[in-house]
């Protein structure tokens, strides 16, 4: 079939040269001053020059708020304007750490903070462990020659595309007292249960819903890792008559390790920041059994009648430190993996 005229190489070139005219014009305009600047500052100075806009945006929208947040954490009172607040040094931090026994939140002055810390720690351990195991299992299955493989990949990835609020509302509709799950149980002649008002079940629901919402993303990363493993290794193992479990432990897992590490660290960071879908699902209840650190900060800073912006800022700085440690860990792993590859 003859290609249509508009997509022929000649017409493409013509279109490209027309589109390039304004670009060329701009480049001619800035060429002279940039050359002068390069003479003045050298190559490294030019790097700084091109990085400056990005750094400016980063500074204004990330570093400056961080600094303001830190200043807030050193102030007291209920006013929001910094100018109306009084400097109290590290009192907010002392208040957060004033505790008889850190393992017993009720012995702490800010019991809600330590409850949130404990809940978050449990959530991170359970959610990250279970989610990675499930993501790995899903990726291994999706890596096989399944019928309608693309469909199954889409099924597992679909929840990732949903808004956290939608995720929370869907599962609330399923799990609430008069929800779909209890209706199904009732129809089967089983006893319905108040899933979201039972502390253990509500926490389990928070973990499960979070896994459902995010697992697809991590499964996709692992699937990409699996597909990058050379097929000839598996063929060689098959020829040697190696058992499937040994193939997994000796070939798949070691070669998937870099992807797994990235997934672990990303999942850890995301889990520490858990908020939206759980907030919609349980509101932090029953009691405070699903109240995590981010919700504590939000409630303390903004939502509660007993709000204290300074205390919320102090808690967020502490949470930020945890996230910095996790990020450094990720960077360290990245560099180590890169180093190994180069070797």
């Amino acid at each position: 079939m003859t290609p249509i005229a508009s997509s022929s190489p000649a017409s493409n070139r013509r279109l490209g040269s027309i589109l390039f005219v304004p670009v060329q014009f701009v480049m001619t305009l800035i060429d002279a001053p940039l050359r002068a600047l390069q003479k003045l500052t050298g190559i490294s100075g030019m790097a700084m020059f091109f990085l400056a806009p990005n750094m400016l945006i980063f500074g204004i929208f990330v570093l400056l708020p961080l600094a303001i947040n830190f200043v807030y954490s050193m102030t007291g009172g209920t006013a929001f304007f910094l100018a109306d607040r009084t400097f109290i040094g590290f009192d907010q931090y002392s208040r957060l750490f004033e505790c008889g026994n850190y393992l017993d939140p009720l012995s702490c002055q800010e019991d809600a903070f330590w409850t949130a810390v404990g809940n978050t720690a449990w959530f991170v351990v359970l959610q990250v462990t279970l989610m990675i195991l499930m993501a790995l299992g899903t990726a291994l299955i999706l890596n096989r020659d399944l019928r309608a493989r693309s469909f199954w990949r889409a099924v597992f990835f679909f929840p990732v595309l949903l808004s956290p609020v939608v995720v929370g509302l869907i599962w609330k509709w399923i799990l609430q007292r008069q929800g779909l799950l209890n209706f199904a149980l009732f129809e089967m002649g089983l006893e319905p249960h108040n899933w979201l008002t039972d502390r253990t079940w509500a926490f389990a629901a928070a973990v499960a819903v979070s896994i459902w919402a995010h697992m697809g993303f991590y499964a996709l990363i692992l699937l990409a890792g699996l597909q990058a493993i050379p097929k000839d290794l598996y063929e060689a193992a098959e020829m040697d008559g190696t058992k499937a479990a040994r193939v997994f432990w000796r070939i798949t897992l070691p070669l998937l390790a870099p992807n797994l590490l990235v997934v672990v660290v990303l999942a850890l960071i995301k889990a520490v920041q858990v908020f939206d879908e759980v907030y919609v699902l349980t509101g932090g209840g029953p009691g405070t059994s699903t109240m995590f650190l981010t919700q504590y900060i939000y409630e303390t800073g903004f939502a509660s009648q007993l709000r204290n912006p300074g205390l919320a800022a102090a808690a967020s700085i502490l949470m930020g430190l945890v996230l910095v440690v996790l990020t450094l860990f990720q960077l360290g792993i990245g560099r180590r993996t890169e180093g190994k590859r180069k070797r």
């Binding site: 007291g76 009172g77 209920t78 006013a79 929001f80 304007f81 009084t86 009720l106 019991d111 409850t115 007292r177 008069q178 108040n194 979201l196 008002t197 502390r199 349980t282 509101g283 932090g284 209840g285 029953p286 009691g287 405070t288 059994s289 699903t290 109240m291 919700q295 409630e299 903004f302 939502a303 509660s304 009648q305 007993l306 709000r307 204290n308």
Partner: protein, 422 residues
């Protein structure tokens, strides 16, 4: 051609730039029932009569008013006018309309008795007016009582009598819970006052929880553990988040529901002919049979850039015939002295149950205790409410013993007072 285009563009930019500011009055509004529709209609009529003023009605959820508006106000932002319930707590953000309204004497005469509810202590500021007066009270599912063959307790019945009767009904009719009370410090304060509680200390600051308060809270926690009160409502959130149990009552899942007069229109609309219901007033305790007064106010925000337009709008909304119409169409109790004294309100509903319920609330307002009447104008009321809801919610979820909850409530309130620096 190019010059013309540029000039036209500049003119348009200038036009839209000015139209976005001068004459705009942004109103933040929430609805419990049908009042959003009524307000929309009134706003349209106001704009027809005042073509130079453009009123933008932002209908938001109550949680936005409760959680986000205070933050906006603290930052010096927010709407020009808002419908709020935390009127005393946020009083420092309201605009003084006294120099701006046409006739301050009219405002003093008709809204003066509730003016202290919404202005800083010791001032004569006109901040706005109550769009409705409310009173907490109970609703009973009459059909369930009739089907169970249980006689409904009378007007002076105690909380214990209602609990016993509602439990019989629930057991007989297989209803999940006999009773429910909204997850709200304001709502639970009514029975606490009936048991003799008094939050206000001699110095005007919050007093530690007294025996009356502890007595009712102890009963409430025990009743909830026994399944008399709906546990879901109180444990379904952390902190002082508001939760209403209205949907459970509307769905026929409760024999008795303690909320307030603002629910009448909501219940009338949503229950329809599904079952018969009645307003019961507030059950009695050893000290009183009181409900908690309250309501929502339409207030002007002092950060407005159009104070004159705001005052024009407020003057129009506060007119006697507009207040009367608003009350009749929304089934809210009016706070306008002239409207109340003239009486003869013709509530626009065919629903006889709703009319009877409004009559019950008017009657119940006569037994409102002195302590209850003081609380809406007391600046620490919301602080006390928040601490009670937060800690009792934890107790009901099984994570805080009741005695510890009492200690924590006192400590939370004391900390808030200390943080405020007063």
């Amino acid at each position: 051609m190019n010059k013309k285009s540029i000039l036209a563009g500049l003119a348009l930019a200038l036009l839209t730039g000015t139209a976005a500011n001068a004459g705009d009055v942004r109103v933040m509004w929430y609805s419990d029932g049908v009042e959003g529709e009524v307000m929309k209609d009134l706003v349209n009529r106001f704009m027809e009569e005042n073509p130079g003023i453009n009123v933008i009605l932002d209908n938001v959820a109550y949680s936005v008013i409760k959680e986000q508006l205070p933050v906006q106000l603290e930052a010096g932002n927010g709407p020009d006018v808002a419908r709020v319930t935390a009127i005393k707590d946020l009083a420092k953000h309201w605009l003084d309309l006294r120099p701006l309204v046409k006739d301050p004497a009219y405002w003093d005469e008709n809204f003066g008795d509730k003016a202290d509810w919404m202005r800083p202590d010791g001032s004569d500021q006109i901040s706005g007016f109550m769009t409705q007066l409310t009173l907490t009270g109970g609703f009973a599912n009459k059909t369930l009582f009739d089907q169970a063959g249980v006689e409904m307790p009378g007007p002076k019945a105690t909380w214990e009598e209602w609990a016993a009767a509602a439990k019989k009904v629930a057991d007989s009719q297989q209803v999940p819970y006999p009773m429910a009370i909204d997850r709200s410090g304001h709502r639970i304060t009514a029975p606490m006052l009936s048991y003799g509680a008094n939050y206000i200390g001699e110095d005007g600051k919050p007093a530690p929880l007294d025996q009356g308060a502890k007595d009712f809270l102890t009963k409430f926690v025990n009743w909830t553990e026994e399944g008399v009160f709906a546990k879901d409502v109180w444990v379904s959130a952390a902190g002082n988040t508001y939760r209403a149990a209205a949907d459970d009552f509307i769905n026929g899942q409760l024999a008795f529901y303690y909320s307030g007069s603002w629910q009448v229109a909501n219940l009338a609309t949503k229950i329809g002919n599904n079952f018969d219901w009645v307003a019961t007033g507030s059950p009695c305790g050893p000290a009183a049979c009181t409900g908690m007064p309250g309501g929502a106010a339409l207030v002007a925000v002092k950060y407005t850039k159009n104070p004159k337009d705001v005052a024009t709008f407020m003057d129009w909304m506060a007119q006697e015939d507009i207040v009367r119409e608003f009350s009749e169409r929304t089934l809210f109790l009016p706070a306008h002295k002239g409207v109340v004294e003239k009486g003869g309100l013709n509530f626009e509903t065919e629903n006889e149950q709703a009319k009877a319920a409004l009559g019950t609330f008017v009657e119940a307002s006569k037994s409102t205790s002195e302590t209850a009447l003081k609380l809406p104008a007391w600046r620490w009321a919301d602080t006390v409410y928040a601490a009670i809801v937060t800690r009792i919610g934890q107790t009901l979820a099984g994570e805080l013993p009741l005695e510890d909850a009492f200690a924590r409530i006192d400590a939370d309130i004391a900390q808030k007072v200390k943080d405020t620096g007063l």
